[in-house]
């Protein structure tokens, strides 16, 4: 975007004003067509998952189309073998999201707003987990619990999920804080607000979109995690673990139902978050103008 909307682009050369040749127009269509195809490719398994949530299979295998039904959407709630693991997953994801978001936001604030010694080792501590294959994160945690003789279960799953999510939260918050305007905070302090009041009334609301985005990411990563969870779960079954186990004998359509519902909920949440962030951005701009 150019400042004040003045186009800096030089006046179009005569070539550009002529109607492009058919070949040129076709070649301009190649990239959008390609992208459209790629997006369709991304949605193929999702559409299949959704379609088979309405299948009415005979026997345990839900792999060929047998007939349309919405019964699965009612049956799923009475299948405790599915809702149990789903509940575990939700408990883990909710707890891990809250903890990881708080811990990660604090680190993000410290990194972007304070000067301190020891940034190098801290960066290492945050980025190395992101660069470590999940299987190794899971394996090392299992090593810890086995050596310490700790019983594995819901608690060890939550601990692991907080661990891998903290780094993601820090990275997200940091990206959002990079363009943070401190003049509003300074204005509040000038007007006599103490540090805590400034943080609560000014800083926190301003960085809220970043925090929400980070929390959403953490929740999604947590509820989806299979690899690390497998190592630290003990006898506890989260939803991905249960689905994986069930896939050996045939996945019932109720799994597709839950997959579809999660997809729809995530979709709605993201759209709401984007709209909200957009509204906040415009309010922020207006506020910043006032302060100047």
């Amino acid at each position: 975007m150019t400042a004040a909307g003045i186009p800096i682009r030089p006046a179009a050369r005569p070539v550009a004003t002529r109607r492009p040749r058919l070949g040129a127009r076709l070649s301009r269509a190649v990239l959008p067509a390609y992208t459209l195809l790629a997006v369709i490719y991304l949605f193929i398994p999702i559409v299949v998952m959704m379609a088979f949530s309405f299948n009415n299979p005979r026997g345990r295998q839900n792999i060929t189309w047998q007939g349309f039904t919405v019964q699965n959407y009612f049956d799923v709630w009475s299948r405790s073998d599915i809702t149990g693991p789903m509940t575990s997953s939700l408990i883990v994801a909710a707890t891990a999201t809250v903890l990881a978001t708080v811990l990660g936001t604090l680190i993000g604030l410290a990194l972007t707003r304070y000067e301190f010694r020891g940034r190098g080792p801290l960066n290492l501590l945050i980025y190395v987990p992101l660069a470590t294959p999940e299987v190794i994160l899971g394996a090392s945690l299992l090593s810890l619990w086995v050596s310490a003789g700790v019983q594995r279960g819901l608690l060890t799953i939550i601990i692991a999920h907080v661990m891998f999510n903290v780094s993601y939260v820090v990275v997200t918050i940091r990206a959002r804080l990079a363009g943070f305007n401190r003049s509003l905070e300074e204005a509040a302090m000038d007007l006599g607000a103490n540090e805590w009041a400034t943080f609560r009334k000014i800083t926190l609301p301003l960085i809220m979109p970043g925090i929400i985005a980070a929390a959403l990411l953490a929740f999604v990563l947590s509820i989806d995690d299979y690899v690390i969870t497998l190592f630290v779960a003990g006898q506890t079954r989260t939803f991905p673990l249960w689905v994986y186990g069930a896939s050996r004998f045939g996945v019932p359509p109720e799994v597709n139902v839950l997959g579809t519902l999660i997809f729809v909920v995530a979709f709605v949440l993201i759209v709401v978050q984007i709209l909200w962030a957009r509204r906040r951005a415009s309010i922020e701009q207006a506020l910043a103008k006032e302060v100047k």
């Binding site: 990239l31 299949v48 410290a110 801290l122 501590l125 903290v166 991905p240 995530a266």
Partner: protein, 284 residues
């Protein structure tokens, strides 16, 4: 807080998260390092014997799977780059007001569980499923033709699952490029191909670098795709680590194998960084 203690504030902010990562990332790594050098069994207990030869043993025993994992992950990185670059380019330069919607469409499929997505591919690719089955009935394909349980299925599944990790950093890098530089290229009579090769592509290299790492690292350690879409002939190193740890409880071997994998990743990443000149890339 009193003024003379103010320097403590950032450390207080860092303390809880830092402790968590130390206790549940650094400490487990140290424990795993110690386990890799122990001998014994689950029933009789383990003793630290500084058994370094185990590293050589696991490397020779699982060379095939190591080589296979590296080659699969490299293939997946190249494929996601080939599929993802034109996508990211189109969204960044031609997206217009659909930019955000297109980006959303790229990440949206990934809000369905990894497991369910991969099982969905298994269903699509299955030997007598609605795709291959129909093609076989019509006579386009041989009855014996199969995709599932082949390297193609595993690499395809990995490519699908990690594609957004390539597209997003590429998009960020391409979006950042100053459009005037590209216009300058055409003003100086460079053809569109020359402008792309000499201006756009070099400037997007940070994205290529970041995307490649974000795809290569999870791909080399993955075992879900090989497990669900592959066969015994497509076993990756992640499958071995998982099997040794979770099923056979061969902890020292599994721990040693994990560190060899981690070392392999670090070495390959360092080589790659040197190859594309990461020092220059990360400076900007």
């Amino acid at each position: 807080m009193p003024r003379r203690l103010r320097w403590l504030t950032p450390y207080l902010f860092l303390l809880p998260g830092g402790l968590w990562l130390t206790a549940f990332f650094v400490l487990p790594m140290l424990v795993m390092a110690s386990i890799s050098l122990q001998e014994g069994s689950l029933s009789s207990g383990y003793r630290l014997t500084w058994n370094f030869p185990i590293y050589a043993e696991v490397i020779t025993e699982w060379t095939t799977q190591f080589v296979r994992s590296i080659w699969y992950a490299a293939a997946v990185t190249v494929l996601t780059l080939l599929i993802g670059y034109p996508m990211a380019y189109t969204i960044a330069f031609r997206g217009g007001r659909f930019k955000n919607i297109l980006l959303l469409l790229v990440i949206l499929p990934f809000f369905t569980a990894f497991i369910i997505r991969t099982l969905s591919w298994k269903l699509i690719l299955s030997d007598n499923g609605f795709v291959l089955g129909t093609l076989k009935d019509v006579g386009i394909l041989e009855p014996a033709f199969r995709v599932l349980a082949t390297p193609v299925a595993v690499i395809g599944g990995l490519t699908y699952n990690f594609l957004p990790f390539m597209v997003l950093p590429l998009y960020v890098a391409l979006e950042k490029i100053d459009r005037h530089l590209i216009e300058a290229g055409s003003d100086l009579y460079a053809s569109r191909r020359q402008t792309f090769l000499r201006v756009t592509l070099p400037l997007s290299m940070p994205g290529v670098f970041a995307g490649s790492l974000l795809v290569f690292i999870p791909a080399i350690g993955d075992f879900i795709n090989a497990d669900l879409l592959g066969s015994r002939e497509t076993t990756m190193i992640g499958n071995i680590i998982q099997r040794l740890f979770v099923q056979t409880n061969a902890y020292p071997e599994a721990a040693a194998l994990s560190f060899v994998l981690m070392a392999a990743v670090l070495v390959l990443v360092a080589l790659y960084a040197r190859f594309v000149g990461a020092e220059e890339l990360t400076r900007g």
